[in-house]
């Protein structure tokens, strides 16, 4: 064994990373600040941030797509509300989830295809991580939270953000609880004048180390499937260690960070439309603050599940049921009740974009350094169609992504977007997706 003191920490870890499948969460040490720490201090180059924003049951085909590909000049009627943000978004049409003869499980296969690039065969397990997890693995190791997940309708057992189908990231359902988690007693204000490392935190670190040591021995004894579970446990433990390490350092000041007031007035989580929209607004405001204060760089917001259970107070029928039961109005050409829900969802989309775009940072807004990937589960809910699944992006990812475009394909797999989004967020990947979704064709139209 070489003299360990001679090895720089970075060199040793690089060597280890080359051979290891497990990502190491590195403490945010001074040696890294040289490359981008001074940038953080003066705010010139704040890190990019990823948000996967999901809603269920899609749009009405023909009413959301712009008529021409290329520059976004006119938005379809269902996305009209996004008009003020035309120059900051991209719209993607014509992408599909090819089944290759495998079952198309309504509201399940669609989102899985979009976020993991895989369609499971009957009885098959999906052991692949979702895009946001891959992004978090790449960029989430230096922030207090690797990522934050929320559900706007109160579903804690999330199915969207996952490392594998037995490792699903749970959702926050209460804005007030999320506030406490982020800005409560463990929050370190980057702009605070004074800072004193807390000996209790150091004590907690030593305890976690002790837990970790004993863990390593268990790793030897388990079978291969359980080994993956222990790896995940270890990764999660390391994330907590990361949090503690950050608590012991004075954070770099962040101009746009100001601690918000505690979240109040959040309605009980539920699927009634106004309740969901209100909770969504509260969550977005909180998450925007969290990002501005450097707490995380990866967000997952599920407005609904794939099978949208949004409903109007006093109505016996939920959004999803309407998509199947409501007849198409012959004079309108679409289902009116369903479209009412779509319009509500679009208004939430606008809320989200405008919340991020009204956060001023440096010379621009928070949205400028973000890449928001808006996804859904189907191209036409009435038929559970996996063709022409709507996708949008918002934000420029700090200049890495062009905006104001409509990209239209003739049935390309959705995995092209999953690949593109990862690349834009700095994941080192050249090709992604399984079976006929395997692709290396980045959507170059939007790459700057």
């Amino acid at each position: 064994m070489a003299s360990i003191q001679e090895l720089s920490r970075r060199r040793v870890l690089r060597g280890m990373l080359a051979g290891s499948a497990v990502t190491v969460g590195l403490p945010f040490l001074d040696c890294f600040l040289n490359t981008n720490g001074t940038a953080l201090a003066d705010g010139a180059q704040l890190p990019t941030v990823f948000l996967n924003w999901f809603f269920g049951c899609g749009f009405n085909p023909g009413r959301w797509e712009p008529s021409q590909p290329g520059k976004l000049t006119e938005l379809g009627p269902e996305l009209k509300a996004l008009e003020p943000f035309k120059d900051k978004i991209n719209i993607f049409s014509g992408f599909k989830v090819p089944l290759d003869g495998k079952p198309g499980l309504p509201h399940i296969t669609g989102p899985l295809g979009v976020t993991t690039g895989m369609v499971p065969a009957s009885g098959q397990k999906v052991t692949l991580p979702s895009v946001d997890t891959l992004v978090a693995d790449a960029i989430g190791g230096k922030t207090r939270f690797r990522s934050l997940e929320v559900s706007c309708i109160g579903v804690a057992g999330g199915a969207l953000s996952r490392r594998a189908d037995n490792m699903l990231n749970p959702n926050e359902v209460s804005p007030a609880a999320l506030y406490t988690r982020i800005f409560g007693p463990d929050f370190r204000d980057p702009n605070a004048a004074d800072f004193k490392p807390d000996p209790r935190v150091m004590a907690r670190q030593s305890v976690l180390s002790g837990v970790k040591e004993q863990l390593a021995e268990v790793q030897v004894a388990v079978g291969s499937a359980d080994k993956a579970r222990m790896d995940e446990y270890l990764t999660s433990l390391r994330q907590l260690e990361q949090q503690l390490e950050l608590e012991l350092q004075k954070p770099a000041p962040l101009e746009a960070c100001s601690v918000p007031k505690p979240t109040e007035g959040a309605p009980q989580p539920g699927t009634e439309v106004e309740t969901a929209l209100t909770n969504h607004r509260l969550f977005m405001a909180l998450l925007a603050n969290a990002v501005a204060c450097g707490q995380t760089r990866v967000l997952n917001v599920a407005l609904t599940e794939g099978l949208s259970t949004l409903h109007k107070a006093g109505s016996a029928v939920v959004h999803h049921t309407h998509t199947h039961e409501e007849p198409v109005d012959p004079s309108l050409g679409y289902q009116p009740q369903v479209t009412w829900f779509i319009e509500k969802i679009a208004s939430a989309m606008v809320d989200m974009v405008s919340t991020l775009d009204s956060f001023h940072e440096g010379g621009g807004t928070l949205l400028d350094r973000m890449l928001v990937w808006i996804t859904t589960d189907t191209g036409y809910a009435k038929l559970h169609s996996l063709d022409n699944i709507p996708m949008l992006t918002a934000g420029r990812a700090g200049g890495l992504v062009k905006t104001g475009l409509h990209v239209r394909t003739a049935g390309d797999p959705v995995s092209r977007m999953g690949l593109t989004v990862q690349q834009a967020m700095g994941v080192q990947v050249n090709s992604w997706g399984s079976d006929s979704m395997e692709t290396s064709k980045t959507v170059t139209e939007i790459m700057a």
Partner: protein, 572 residues
């Protein structure tokens, strides 16, 4: 971990950092031997790891530290697989946000356990100096508590490591109790606590095979019968080797089955099998169904669990009767939902009152209770399809096939817009269209017989002014009302086979393997019938069978490398 600039300590620090990178680096580790290493030397294998559920976590904390300890955090949602959280637990890991929560809870619990009011009771000894480490006193606490938390005694090395952690933490915060609390918190988030680690040893009675070691056996037994960690008597029996002796095992099983704590075990099983975790996200439209107030879901679950306990435990009854029993328990709220008059002592709103339906009632058995009909419905109306599917999958263990790949839903577009007044009418397309009928005929006819129960469980004779037709059919048996459905379930072989299958899976933590299936079919199921389908006897039979404790180490499994947990895509 003491921070100093000494070279040796720096090296130790580096080595610990290296350990963090994962198993590729194990060769660099300083050799701390733990249970794993010691077990390796005695040929033990880690065969199963099941994350403890929310209820188990709460129960263990209450058993060890008493009921006054408050859990200050949120649990990572339990996962369901093969119909059971007990099986999903065998696949669950801990996510980053989950770990955060476990850590918060652990520190909160540990802080309460050693706070000024409680420390005198929790700790028999006193530190020599309350501001400094006291290894002897720490050792007493850690050994005693650790044995119950980890469901086995700590090894000498684990003990030394924990004492070291406590003293290290104490040195930083200059408070013995705070340091000890931090080490306790560490134990509460360690895998030995959060996961039920099951170790296999060579089985002397079946050379070449493996069985659970004594402590793992005690755990499996205790979680099956009481949904709790082994109590001191069971741990002692394990230590003395009594659980490997038929008479010794039987003694413990009988003791545990005779205890009131078996109710908690039976409750936990049925709450899992009946998918009560879905109540957490259940909501009913408050304008259409104002009776479904915030306590309604809890009352609904409790009603069914009480019905089941009364029948299967208190009265040592026949499992099949849960589908036909007229004896149940009601609160004033449930009585209002079911539109039944009841009398409560002293007019207390929270009291449970035994109630028996009259003989001509159209309501009997758990399938007509709110915990079934309300749980498996939409927020604003009932759903025969969801209820039919739930009945098949939950009570009969029958999987409804996934929809085929290219279902053309265009065929169900009906532009004539007829006004469908009842669910039966609304589901016409399911019934008449051949693409749909194949699967829907498995679900809808069963669920339609429950249409007299609206989405909250309230009884109704009409829907939108039209009389409800509650006739239905289950695998060839026809009936005209929910009582008939209950009878059909009672007489169904699938129902009794299902509960056996589920209970075995629940106890094992995975769906039965080939070897398990033979045992289940040829021994357990037959014995269940012979015993008159008495659930307590089924528990006894499983808990005293050798097969229940036989295991196959991972490297020896025929499907080694593949996961034997069936993780087919979850149903809608």
């Amino acid at each position: 971990m003491v921070q100093n600039t000494d070279g040796k300590a720096a090296a130790r620090r580096w080595l610990k950092t290296l350990a963090a990178a994962g198993c590729a680096l194990l060769g660099f580790l300083v050799h701390h031997s733990t249970y794993a290493a010691e077990s390796a030397s005695s040929q033990k294998r880690l065969v199963e790891m099941r994350r403890i559920t929310q209820d188990q976590y709460r129960q263990i904390i209450a058993d060890v530290f008493g009921r006054t300890i408050k859990l200050g955090g949120r649990f990572e949602p339990d996962q369901r697989d093969s119909g059971l959280i007990a099986v999903g637990a065998g696949e669950a890991s801990v996510t980053a946000s989950g770990y955060e929560q476990y850590d918060g809870m652990a520190r909160s619990i540990a802080g309460q356990v050693l706070d000024e009011q409680r420390r005198a009771t929790m700790l028999a000894c006193r530190p020599a100096d309350p501001k400094a480490a006291d290894d002897a006193c720490a050792k007493q606490f850690i050994a005693r508590i650790g044995r119950i938390l980890y469901r086995r005694p700590l090894t000498d090395t684990e003990l030394v490591a924990e004492i070291g952690i406590a003293s290290g933490a104490t040195a930083k915060v200059h408070d013995f109790y705070a340091g000890l609390a931090l080490s306790l918190a560490g134990m509460l988030e360690a895998p030995q606590f959060l996961f039920r680690q099951e170790w296999a040893e060579a089985d002397p009675e079946h050379p070449g095979s493996y069985r659970l070691d004594a402590y793992s056996k005690a755990s499996r037994l205790s979680f099956l019968l009481w949904n709790a960690a082994p109590d001191p008597l069971l741990l002692e029996a394990a230590e003395k080797g009594e659980l490997n002796d038929t008479a010794g095992l039987k003694r413990q099983v009988d003791r545990m089955l005779a205890s009131p704590r078996v109710e908690a075990g039976v409750r936990a099983f049925f709450a899992d099998m009946l998918s009560f975790s879905s109540f957490e996200t259940l909501a009913k439209d408050s304008v259409l169904y104002p009776k479904f107030v915030s306590r309604a879901p809890a009352d609904a679950q409790e009603q069914t669990l009480r019905t089941i306990i009364d029948l299967l435990v208190t009265r040592h009854g026949d499992y099949r009767d849960i589908f036909t029993t007229r004896r149940t328990f009601l609160t004033p709220l449930l009585a209002a939902i079911y539109k039944i008059p009841i009398e409560t002592p002293n007019d207390l709103p929270d009291v449970w009152v035994p109630y028996e339906y009259p003989e001509n009632a159209e309501q009997a058995g758990i399938v007509t209770e709110a915990s079934f009909v309300a749980l498996h419905s939409h927020p604003g109306r009932s759903s025969p399809t969801i209820r039919g599917k739930a009945l098949r999958e939950i009570l009969l263990c029958q999987k409804v096939p996934d929809p085929p790949g290219n279902v053309n839903f265009a065929v169900v577009q009906d532009t004539s817009n007829p006004e469908f007044k009842t669910a039966r009418a609304r589901l016409t397309a399911h019934r008449t269209n051949p693409t749909c009928a194949g699967c829907h005929k498995i679900m809808d006819p069963v669920g339609l017989s429950l249409e007299n129960f609206d989405t909250t469980g309230g009884f109704r004779l009409t829907e939108n002014g039209v009389a409800i037709d509650a006739s239905g059919e289950l695998d060839g048996t026809k009936f005209s009302d929910p009582i008939g459905l209950g009878r059909a379930l009672h007489d169904s072989a699938a129902a009794t086979a299902c509960v056996v299958n589920r209970l075995v899976s629940y106890g094992l933590g995975h769906a039965p393997t080939k070897a398990d299936s033979d045992w289940v079919r040829n021994d357990v199921a037959k014995q269940f019938a012979t015993d008159g389908y008495r659930f307590i006897d089924l528990l006894r039979d499983i808990a005293t069978s050798d097969q229940f404790y036989r295991v196959t180490p991972p490297e020896m499994r025929a499907d080694a490398g593949a996961d034997r947990h069936d993780r087919s895509a979850k149903p809608e």
